[in-house]
Each structure stands twice: as structure tokens, then as C-alpha cells.
């Protein structure tokens, strides 16, 4: 089911709508800032989430601070490497386990258990095993996204309409050919959605790991903002982190569009 169909529901909005969309987005964004400002009026809250102006000032300060850019680079690097390892690892593991029913069933409960492990609580172990800094950040990212991808694609695979598989089989597809011409495109939506989720969580994971363990990277600002009670720094760092994932997500969605040529109207 759900695989070939999404397509059809997506209509291309006419060009004139683009301006409208941006306008509405702008309005929503402004509303957010306003709400933020208003909540900040509640006593005590501003010391937790800062104020729009203070945050802006912090951001302005960072723009000219090479150390800040160094931290951005660290976080992005950690997230990227973790993302690559996680994605490739999940795909390889999927390719090894999915085709054989027995293996698939053997590993499945273990994956469910691993998925349930509260990784945040095990941060000290990550630090011990992978050191502070990039090592544990990357490991943490992988731990966050590996199963996310695996489980998502796995579910997608089981929703494929069998008639496509049968058709390709009858045309002579075997093994990798079958994967390439049916399974992968059919779970395309699932792959892309899990990649996008994974990209976002890679950035988040890297930041959280830095927050818990290492001084370098944007997570360090989160930690400092939290511990020293500097809400503007905390929020500014959170926003920068969010923007980075926004960019990662946008890049992937562009990829998705290219991939989804067949789902045209």
C-alpha cells in the first residue's frame, strides 16, 4: 500500500502560492517570538529561556567569534560522521538480517531491547568507552540513530505490495536486483523519512553528547548556559543547533525531491 500512493496526493502548488506560503511562515515565526517574549514576562521564566533580544545579542556576538565557528564545525563534524556511520551501519545490518527470515526473527527482540535502552542515562559509559570529545559524541549519535533507521525501513519493507515483488521476480530479478528495483524504491518514502529524522537526531545527539561530556561543540554552550544560568546562551545555542538540523533536513528533502521523480502530481 502506502508506498506508491503518496505521490498522487501531493499537488504542486502554483507559483503564485509561494509568496503566500512565505508570508504565512513569517507570520507564524513572528507569533512564536511574541509568545516567547510574553512567557518571558512570567517571573523566573526569563532566567530559563531568556528573552528574544538577549538571545539575539548573544547570536550577534557569536557571529564574530571564531571560537563559536569552531564549535559549530565540531558539532557538524560529529553529527555528520555519526550520521554516516549510523546510516551505513543500519543499511548493512538490514541487508544482512532482513533477507533471511530466521536471522530476522532472531535479532528482532534484541533490537527492540536495544531500542529501549535509555541512552542518555548511559552517557558516563560512552565517555569511558569512547573518551571525551568527538569519540563519544559520534558513538552517541550512532547509538541514537542506528535503530531509528533500522526499525523504520524494516517497517517500510513489510508494507510493500507483494505484487511488485512478484512481478520483478517473474521478470528474473534475483537478490540485489530485486532490492535495487523493488525494495529500495518501494521503501523510498520510508528511507527518506528515516534519513531526515536521523539527520536531525544526529545533530541533536552530537549536541546532547557534547552537553553531557565534552567542552567542545555547541553542546558545550548548552551546558554552560544551563550550569551558569545564562539562559540567552542556552537558547541561542539551542537555536543554532535547530538551524543546523533545519539545513541538514532541507538538503535531504532536496534529495528526496530528486529521488521522487516518479511521484509527480
Amino acid at each position: 500500500m502506502g508506498t506508491e500512493t503518496r505521490a498522487i496526493a501531493v499537488e504542486v502548488p502554483p507559483r503564485s502560492a509561494v509568496g503566500k506560503i512565505v508570508g504565512i511562515q513569517f507570520a507564524i515565526g513572528a507569533a512564536f517570538v511574541l509568545i516567547w517574549q510574553l512567557i518571558g514576562e512570567v517571573p523566573g521564566v526569563a532566567t530559563l529561556i531568556g528573552t528574544p533580544l538577549g538571545t539575539l545579542a548573544q547570536l550577534g556576538e557569536w557571529v564574530f567569534d571564531p571560537e563559536f565557528w569552531g564549535n559549530v564545525a565540531t558539532t557538524v563534524m560529529n553529527a555528520f560522521v555519526g550520521f554516516l556511520i549510523g546510516v551505513i551501519g543500519a543499511c548493512v545490518f538490514l541487508a544482512l538480517t532482513y533477507p533471511i527470515r530466521l536471522v530476522r526473527r532472531f535479532v528482532s527482540p534484541f533490537l527492540a531491547v536495544l531500542n529501549a535502552v535509555p541512552r542518555v542515562a548511559l552517557a558516563p559509559l560512552f565517555i569511558v568507552w569512547f573518551g571525551i570529545g568527538s569519540g563519544s559524541s559520534i558513538a552517541f549519535v550512532v547509538a541514537m540513530i542506528f535503530l531509528m533507521i533500522y526499525i523504520n525501513i524494516f517497517t517500510g519493507l513489510s508494507t510493500i505490495d507483494q505484487v511488485y515483488v512478484h512481478n520483478a521476480q517473474m521478470l528474473g530479478a534475483r537478490g540485489w536486483q530485486l532490492a535495487q528495483s523493488v525494495y529500495i524504491p518501494a521503501v523510498g518514502t520510508w528511507i527518506m523519512s528515516s534519513l531526515r529524522l536521523a539527520a536531525i537526531w544526529s545533530v541533536l545527539g552530537a549536541a546532547v553528547a557534547e552537553y553531557l561530556a565534552g567542552s567542545r561543540g555547541l553542546g558545550g554552550y548548552l551546558a554552560r548556559g544551563g550550569v551558569l544560568g545564562e539562559p540567552d546562551m542556552l537558547i541561542a545555542a539551542a537555536i543554532v543547533i535547530a538551524i543546523i538540523s533545519l539545513i541538514a533536513d532541507a538538503l535531504l528533502s532536496r534529495l528526496e525531491k530528486r529521488y521522487a521523480r516518479w511521484r509527480l502530481f
Binding site: 512481478n167 517473474m170 521478470l171 528495483s181
Partner: protein, 294 residues
């Protein structure tokens, strides 16, 4: 209750044994298929004995839901039978063997890959067999034209009409010239004229290649016009009701063969064979209520 009678009848009307016939391409020996459903097991077809010889063109007709598609799936190796044996081209088909490279299947449901263009869909089997992209697409282009879709090569299935999609599927199968060709109501989505053209095309291709064809249809005229033998099936759980040779000359022109007395006779016999079955099918279904048919 009526089953016993139906079976007895099957034996008497059966006339499929050609003495000294060529090697069998497809053999079903005492085959049954049971589906597990929520309301218990559902026997879809049972006790099917059927031999199709090499180069034979056999049609299967029968009431909707009698198990025609199920039989093709078993022959294709996609759903091994729950009991009995299926042999294709001398090899036994089991859950392990999977589909044979020499068997082609045109599915009843749209099965072209939505993420490939019409051309890519037709070229697919050739590519699987290791043909270069270039040569595969050249062949595919030719076949697209043959099914009346020249110029639609770069369309995705969602942009084609129902009948066009079906023709893509047919081309994708025929371009491989499989030794055994299974076709499940391939022409039912086509308009009368296109259908006539494609039926003639199929026949002329077949005259050349002498493939073994099992052809499911619900159009009796089509069945008679195309085939050497027509199998009718009883309402589900489906068994073979009759197996009649057509005896019409080859090569045929479909427009003309219609007026042969042998054509009309066979057509009427089949109609008679089936008339009762459809009644049985609906009355049995009503009688059995929810947990149907076994």
C-alpha cells in the same frame, strides 16, 4: 454435496490425453491450495490435475473467485501449493526453487513498478538478464511500439490510463520470450479494438515462438479464439470441471475464426459448462454464511 457429481463429470468430459504428445511443460498433480484467513482455513482450489504440453496454448475460464489466479501463482512458483506437486519444464516447483527464469507472468492486478518509466519497466527483465542498457532499451522501445505505446516511454505508470499500464506489463513480459507464459486476464482493461489488435499480435508472436501459454480470461470468445484447449473450473473451492480441445485450424485470424461452426459449438459447450457453476457459486456462498466453503 454437488462436489462428487462435479468431479465425476470432470473425468468424463476430460479429453486432454493426446497419445504420443510432446513433453509436458507444466504439470499439476493433485494440487490444492488453502489460505489461512481469520475465520479459519479457506480452501481456494483442490485436487487439480492438469498437464499442459510444450507449445500448447491453454485457456482457463471459470467463475470469479474460483481460483484461476491461484493456479497461475502456483505454476509461477510464487505460492507453493499446500498439497500436491507442480512441475514446470521438468523441474518440481517448491517453496525453495522460486520463480523460473523461463516463466513469464502478466498479473491480473497492475504490477508495473510505479517508480520506473514505461520504457524502464519493459527493459527491466532484459537488464536483469544482463543486457546492456542500450540494447535493452532498444528492444523495449520496439515492444512499446508493438503494444501501441510508442512515444509514451518516459511516462511513469501513474500518468498512463489503466489500459496503457496493462499494455506496459504485457510488453515487459513478452520482450523476454519466456518458454512458459502465464497471463491473468491480460486484455480485460483494453478497449475492444486495441484488444482485438493485441490478441492478433499475441497469436502471431505465438505462431513464431511456440511458447507454452496458460491464459486466464473471463471472455469465452477470447478463450476459444486463442487456444488449443479450454479448461473450465467449478466455483470455489475450484476444481477442473471440463477440459475441451478446440480443434480449430492454425494459423487463425480471430475475426474470421469466429464464424467457424467449431467455434460456435465450443463456445456454446463452455457456456453450458459454466452456466450452472455461477448459480452454484452464488447459492453456496449464501448458504455457507460467514465461514464459507469447506
Amino acid at each position: 454435496m454437488t462436489d462428487a457429481i462435479a468431479r465425476a463429470e470432470t473425468k468424463t468430459v476430460s479429453n486432454s490425453q493426446h497419445p504420443g504428445a510432446p513433453a509436458p511443460a507444466v504439470e499439476l498433480i493433485d494440487v490444492s491450495q488453502t489460505f489461512r484467513t481469520k475465520s479459519g482455513p479457506h480452501l481456494a482450489v483442490r485436487d487439480i490435475d492438469l498437464t499442459v504440453n510444450e507449445g500448447e496454448f491453454v485457456s482457463v475460464v471459470g467463475p470469479s473467485g474460483c481460483g484461476k489466479s491461484t493456479i497461475l501463482y502456483m505454476v509461477a512458483g510464487l505460492r507453493p501449493p499446500t498439497s500436491g506437486e507442480v512441475h514446470v519444464l521438468g523441474k518440481r516447483v517448491t517453496a525453495q526453487t522460486g520463480p523460473d527464469l523461463d516463466v513469464g507472468f502478466v498479473f491480473q492486478k497492475d504490477a508495473v513498478l510505479p517508480w520506473k518509466t514505461a520504457l524502464q519497466n519493459v527493459a527491466l527483465g532484459l537488464r536483469y538478464r544482463g543486457a546492456s542498457k542500450r540494447s535493452a532499451e532498444a528492444d523495449a522501445t520496439e515492444w512499446l511500439a508493438r503494444v501501441g505505446l510508442a512515444g509514451f516511454g518516459d511516462r511513469y505508470p501513474a500518468q498512463l490510463s489503466g489500459g496503457m499500464r496493462k499494455r506496459v506489463a504485457i510488453a515487459a513480459s513478452l520482450v523476454l520470450t519466456p518458454k512458459v507464459l502465464l497471463m491473468d486476464e491480460p486484455f480485460s482493461a483494453l478497449d475492444a479494438q486495441t484488444r482485438m489488435i493485441m490478441e492478433n499480435d499475441l497469436l502471431s508472436i505465438w505462431e513464431e515462438t511456440k511458447q507454452t501459454v496458460i491464459f486466464v480470461t473471463h471472455d469465452l470468445e477470447e478463450a476459444v479464439g486463442l487456444s488449443d484447449r479450454v479448461i473450465t473450473m467449478t466455483a470455489g473451492p475450484g476444481t477442473i470441471l471440463s477440459d475441451r480441445a478446440s480443434g480449430l485450424p492454425r494459423p487463425r485470424d480471430l475475426q474470421e475464426v469466429r464464424f467457424e461452426p467449431a467455434f460456435t459449438r465450443l463456445h456454446e459447450m463452455l457456456w453450458e459448462d459454466l452456466r450452472e457453476q455461477v448459480q452454484i457459486a452464488s447459492s453456496r456462498a449464501s448458504a455457507a454464511g460467514v465461514g464459507d466453503g469447506n
